[in-house]
């Protein structure tokens, strides 16, 4: 889906130098849909680039977040996770399995932005509305 060309262009457009580490990290983050942690990314990218330093993972992710190429996401658990999808979206999250999936819903977004256009919150101006839908992935109902 996301070609190496696109990846390279994204990094380049952000004014960053193209390095194997950066390309591979971003590529891996695009491929993994599970909102991985720095540690998970380190494990995956290490297989492609042996000798990779954990520091590079943290540096790279921070830089990408700073440049808006990726986003941080958090769950109820303790570790930071990362998301290659920067377009506005929400998350389905199961606290038991700590599994998190993307949820896109333009109709819902319309309803919410209409609502908050009418209803002003005193002392606070809303710039982004993020939903976390808590629940269960029906991993049983697999007949």
């Amino acid at each position: 889906m996301e070609s190496t060309q696109d990846i390279v262009k994204k990094i380049s457009d952000a004014g960053l130098k193209i390095t194997p580490q950066r390309v591979t990290v971003l590529q891996m983050l695009c491929k993994l849909k599970n909102h991985p942690t720095a540690d998970e990314l380190f494990a995956e990218v290490s297989q492609i680039l042996p000798g990779l330093s954990p520091t590079t993972i943290y540096n790279t992710l921070d830089t990408f977040v700073e440049k808006g190429l990726i986003k941080r996401v958090k769950t109820d658990a303790d570790v930071m996770r990362y998301d290659a999808i920067t377009d506005h979206h929400h998350h389905l999250y199961c606290a038991v399995s700590d599994r998190m999936e993307d949820y896109f819903d333009p109709e819902l977004d319309r309803i919410l932005s209409d609502y908050f256009n009418k209803k002003q919150i005193s002392g606070f101006s809303v710039s982004d509305i993020r939903l976390q839908l808590m629940g269960d992935f029906n991993e049983n109902n697999k007949n």
Copy 2:
């Protein structure tokens, strides 16, 4: 607002022993509206109970979460925060100041639960809808 009697009853009803540490932690968490971290709680509660161990803060908070007396909340920053309000509510959050405030809105909740009653998400059953309203507290507009 929240009397010591109430605090004690809450802890007791959860099947836990009443200790000065637990009473003071829960009392402090009720008083502080800023969704404090374990560290902030340790600092505050230490003033009342000198000799308090950080471990006790972590133990106590974990126990309270387990028993449903308090909730964990997360921001985009790295540290876990805690919330004495267990009733359903949402959060206003400013990423710049890392400030987080409670937001109650039954009308919105109605709209959302109506929406998700109609619109089923395949493979996922929603049990709780949490909004994080990103934005700015208008800390300038103080004339």
